[in-house]
């Protein structure tokens, strides 16, 4: 189950990781080996087995529609890399 350099670059794009060339090389090898190992789940025929996404079979955990106090501004922005007034500032998106 090999993975190509192009696939690594595509996945890095999806995951928003600006990998160095060295990282791309290394990950292409490492992921290939890991996928080889984990790919063995495909060996099993489980067509009639339902998937489990949760170890407990809980349902309907809801809360009532009652407002609670939000955070004070100093907490909202306590860790903000860049703040402008009461807004989070980020580089241009367009």
């Amino acid at each position: 189950m090999a993975i190509t350099r192009e696939e690594v670059l595509h996945v890095a794009k999806l995951a928003r990781l600006d990998l160095t060339d060295e990282e791309v090389e290394r990950l292409t090898v490492e992921l290939g080996a890991i996928l080889e190992a984990v790919g063995k789940v495909a060996e099993l025929d489980l067509s009639d087995v339902p998937p489990t996404s949760h170890p407990l079979s809980l349902v309907n955990a809801w809360r009532d529609d009652e407002p609670r106090p939000s955070l004070p501004p100093e907490d909202v922005f306590a860790n903000a890399p860049q703040r402008e007034g009461d807004l989070f500032r980020v580089p241009p998106t367009t």
Partner: protein, 470 residues
């Protein structure tokens, strides 16, 4: 030469008017200062976890039932993964392959019989935050280009409604949306106001040769923030696609933004890499399995829906008036006014034409009925004044009914004669067959008498004098 049939599917996002957000207890809705309605959950702080809002789940089911949907015995929230500054967790929580409501329909009464628009699904999701782009072209001195994020709206519950490709004209889309909007408003789950962004509509548009059943490449229209713009956008896109095909070209899948100013469509820059949202079941949440009692309770609580009322009124009035009254939320007032003794057609006309957009619930039908009955007798100015005041608490028609319009032909006759002499051109035109000019003459008389003349008497007078002359 082919005639082309528009094929339109609509995606409608409805912001629920719950008191709190979808997954946290921050107050939802407008009002708070920038980022003042936020907490660790809706800011996506490390370790924060979502807890679903019961009201939002019940209202989604309520809407699904009103749209004749099957309510899923098991609905599952999933994560839709992508990066954007308005998405604090790096994913949007949304029902995906197991939505709460599926396979419904909204029947839109229309001239050529009932039109059934299928509802493929209605699912619950969380809204994104608000990002504004500043600097750069707006040229603030020293203002570097950048974006600013306000997370107040982030996490507000949204219901996304997806129709089948069953809509075949801009007009049909408008009628469908009006009816859907009124239904949502009457369910009390959202104010569904496009101008406020609590109702958002995207349209998927394609065309095909009349008679064929194929589905050709479709384009998506976004940012149409009024029903009128939706209709304009669809017409423009249909025309564009028809032109492309007639020129022997092919339509390419594209997303267009509608510009209200120019009424033009501008293509969006397509992203470098194709979307791959990597949906998977949200592991921080458990499935929604609404108990049968809950669903039945919600079904029992459904009010009589607008579509049914349009059909009921259609029997007494024509479809258009019935539709305007119902989708304007004025049909109850109409029925009470008729019950209070007013003539059906007179009441329908007056309410549909003169009270559109007003709050029918604030009107005392008995007083309105008196106005309807007297509307020819009293001066137009008095009627206008009365209708302006009619929604005021404790409104009484008495002072307006006291005013008598001038109906005395002896008094009005000379006035009409003077007017006809003063406008020989229009007189000739009228006699030449332009009967529409009648209104012009009547209007002139009303102006001369500052609305005190009896419009009906005046128009009879004018008509007889004009025909007499020939």
């Amino acid at each position: 030469m082919t005639t082309w049939q528009p094929v339109i599917g609509l995606e409608i996002h409805v912001q629920l008017k719950t008191r709190t957000k979808m997954f946290c207890s921050c107050a939802a809705g407008f009002g708070g200062g920038e980022n003042m309605q936020t907490c660790p959950v809706c800011l996506g702080f490390p370790g924060a976890l979502p807890v679903p809002n019961r009201q939002a789940i019940e209202w989604t089911i309520r809407l699904g039932l009103a749209l004749g949907c099957d309510i899923a015995p098991r609905a599952v929230f999933a994560r839709k993964n992508y990066f954007y500054p308005d998405l604090p967790k790096g994913y949007q929580v949304s029902q995906y392959d197991l939505p709460s409501c599926v396979d419904g329909r909204l029947v839109v009464p229309s001239a050529d019989g009932d039109r059934e628009i299928s509802i493929v699904r209605a699912h619950l999701e969380e809204d994104a935050a608000k990002t504004t782009h500043v600097g750069g072209r707006t040229g603030r001195i020293g203002g570097a280009e950048h974006s600013l994020v306000d997370f107040n709206r982030g996490g507000t519950p949204l219901v996304e409604i997806v129709t089948g490709p069953d809509v075949h004209s801009a007009e049909e889309a408008r009628r469908f949306l009006q009816l859907l909007r009124q239904t949502i408003v009457e369910l009390g789950i959202s104010d569904a106001a496009m101008e406020k962004g609590t109702l958002r509509v995207d349209a998927n548009v394609s065309v095909r040769p009349e008679g064929s059943t194929e589905l050709r490449t479709r384009c998506e229209l976004k940012n149409m923030n009024s029903f009128r713009f939706v209709a304009q956008g669809i017409d423009a896109e249909v025309a564009r696609q028809v032109a492309v095909y007639e020129a022997g070209g092919e339509v390419v899948q594209q997303t267009y933004d509608f510009d209200a100013g120019s009424g033009a469509l501008t293509a969006r820059r397509s992203k470098e890499e194709a979307d791959d949202y990597r949906y998977f079941p949200e592991p921080d949440l458990v499935p929604v399995e609404p108990p049968a009692e809950l669903v039945e309770r919600l079904r029992a609580e459904l009010p009589e829906l607008p579509a049914a009322r349009i059909r009921r009124l259609e029997a007494q009035l024509d479809l258009d008036r019935a539709t305007v009254l119902v989708t304007g939320g004025l049909d109850r007032l109409y029925e009470e006014t008729v019950a209070a003794g007013a003539d059906r057609v007179d009441a329908a006309n007056l309410i549909a034409n003169r009270l559109a957009g007003r709050d029918g619930a604030a009107v005392d039908a008995r007083e309105l009925a008196r106005l309807v009955q007297a509307r020819d007798r009293i001066p137009r100015a008095a009627l206008d004044e009365a209708l302006a005041q009619v929604t005021e608490p404790g409104f009484s028609a008495d002072p307006y009914l006291a005013q008598e319009a001038v109906s005395d032909t002896a008094e009005l006759g000379p006035l009409v004669d003077r007017l006809l002499e003063a406008n020989p051109g229009q007189v000739a035109a009228y006699r030449g067959g332009k009967e529409g000019l009648l209104g012009f003459f009547v209007g002139q008389v009303m102006k001369e008498t500052d609305g005190k003349a009896n419009a009906r008497v005046v128009s009879e007078l004018v008509r007889e004098k004009l025909s007499a002359g020939t």
